[in-house]
């Protein structure tokens, strides 16, 4: 396992998250939700801290983390990309958009680029079916995306980083 060091202030915040919920094992899912909000993901160290605070085996925390697809143990990129695969987006070619994203970024769904800039996920419907297919990057929504547009969209972010 890679050694990952957690910042002290964030560990204190994590303790507070658990304490707010009385270190109650029944609150595990809510605590994990808040912890993922804090760290962006749930590395083993975070799971271990939560297990210790709640006085439960870390295996149980890990079981819950791997059961729910919302929870992730991979750090998200600076610009998290979500490709909508809801019905409307799907029938208008979202799958091809997703394929192009994977090709351009050289990662698969659920992964993060080695430079930490982008992570790629898919989701089901953001409620903007009129704009299908839809891609979200961070908080920004891109509508009527085609595979041809993917390169241009990404290059804006690369330019921003230079």
């Amino acid at each position: 396992m890679n050694e990952i060091h957690l910042p002290k202030t964030k560990v204190a915040e994590l303790h507070a998250i658990c304490a707010e919920r009385n270190n109650d094992p029944g609150e595990l899912i809510n605590i994990l939700h808040a912890a993922q909000g804090l760290f962006g993901y749930l590395p083993p160290e975070v799971q271990q801290v939560i297990a210790t605070e709640l006085n439960i085996p870390v295996s149980r925390v890990y079981g819950v983390v791997t059961f729910y697809s919302f929870f992730t143990m991979t750090p998200k990129g600076k610009y998290p990309i979500s490709v909508c695969l809801g019905t409307a987006c799907y029938v208008r070619g979202a799958e091809k958009v997703l394929e192009e994203m994977q090709r351009q970024l050289e990662i698969k769904v659920g992964e993060t680029t080695p430079d930490g800039l982008f992570s790629l996920d898919c989701l089901r419907c953001v409620g903007a079916c009129g704009l299908a297919p839809v891609v979200m990057i961070g908080g920004k929504v891109y509508g009527r995306v085609t595979p041809e547009k993917v390169r241009d969209i990404l290059s804006d972010y690369y330019l921003k980083e230079q």
Binding site: H5, P7, Q48, I56, V58, R60
Partner: protein, 596 residues
Amino acid sequence: METIKLIIDNKEVEVPKGTTILNAAKSVGIHIPTLCYMKLEDLHYENNPGACRICVVEIEGRRNLAPSCKMECTEGMVVRTHTPRVMNARKTVMELILSNHPAECLTCSSNGHCELQKIAHDLGIREIRYKGDMSTFTIDRSPSIVRNMNKCIMCRRCETMCNTIQTVGALTAVNRGFNAAVSTAFERDMAGSTCSYCGQCVSVCPVNALSGRNTQQPVLDALADPTKIVIAQTAPAVRTALGRDFGYEPGTLVTGKMVSALRQLGFDYVFDTDFAADLTIMEEGTELLHRLGRYLNGDKEVKIPLMTSCCPGWVSFVEQHFPELRDNLSTAKSPQQMFGAIAKSYFAEKLGIDRKNLVVVSIMPCLAKKYEASRPEFSVEGNPDVDYSIYTRELARLIRYANIDFKELPDGEFDRPLGESTGASVIFGTTGGVIEAACRTAYELYTKKNLDKVDFEELRGLEGIRSATVDFDGTPVKIGIAHGLGNARKLIEEIKNGTSPYHAIEVMACPGGCIGGGGQPFHRGRMEVLRRRAAALYREDANKPLRKSHENPYIQQLYKDYLGEPCGPKAHELLHTHYIDRKEVVGMYTETEKSK
């Protein structure tokens, strides 16, 4: 008590309110097959996730079938347990389970006593209509336990055992779909988890997803090697259970036939771990008196209560979960390791051979003993004190392998000198036995008086935690007993809180003690199997002419000729050990500002 009347398969049944259909049916002799469900009432173990759906029944007026393990009886309910619709559903469920289960029965070590195989056979499954993807996992081999998740049917019995009863928390269900499995935190190997190797997960596994590590081949190789002297030592609990695999009733003592079988297999000497159990009592009893003496004289440094150290699952649990209390463990080695140490020193010298040409094979009811035998501190220049540890089921396999007709064997006798034992050592195999044996000897050593009544009934039974005060001629010695690691944890919490009233504590990791060990023939949820094994040990104890460890003449001679005094320098060198802090910091988090 409020009762409910219902009809199951045209039979009228009256049961207390809250009874499930499954248990109501059982009470009138109607057998409903189950796969995930398991209950051991005396141990408070119940696995009831309603996961497998094999136990479905039809209820009049209800649209869909109901799982009988979950569904409680209601007044006037009419239940049918084997209508065509029920049987069809069961067959479909079974076919779906089998569609993701490797069809390797002929080469599987559970062939012949697999619960899945039995039910598939009973249901008359001849074809699996569902074909497609299957789970693919790598096989995890720890020193004691093999975890092959390709065979797992997700009954969750092991998870319940590991978490609820043992509170070890090593096993958990992870992931989803074809990736779903019972695994450890972060899906590490079991060797890198909090597993204590107690083997109780193996005891309850209905298939062969969790099994004991197999060490039969090296034993056969040693037996065939003319340059080696091979000796066997057999643990007390083995003789109560081995017969089960040859058609005997549970709890039948097969000591004599076991000895003959080992001799026929080619062992040069057949000795008894019970001899070493008597030796353990000499050392541990003396250590208890030393510690107790210092404690009663006001010594604040001495670690009280003294905790027994015969059980490697328990020792490993302390080292991993409560390393701060490891000095409370008796430094006396377990009987298996004492036997190995004496065999490869005293006995090898007696024979005039190099220890490397002596092969010690232990036959144990236990999977953790394999791990214990492999611990590096139990070897001399890379040569282990105990070369191989095999468990009861493995011995049964060896006996069948060698075409030995077990039932027809004459009753053999253990060889001397390491085969002689007292009744005290026999009861090591059941919960409460070690401390009872220790009391018999410690009492006489302490009071210098003869103990009239050697049966300490107050220390016996199957309550999870028991306590008793034994009067040592005016000095009350308080004793605590726990079996099952979850119960042991409660006694440990008391020590940590400073509220423990005990001077000595006996712990066995397995529920029931060694009779319920992970290497024993499967109980398959039948509690009376464990009860009868315990009763058999107390019977053997009562029938022994000598019942106190210090009266064993061969033990007395061993001290006279070789060891000197109990807990003396030579005894210390050979018969005592030390414990290690194995508390694992999973994922090692350090509070630094290194990353943001």
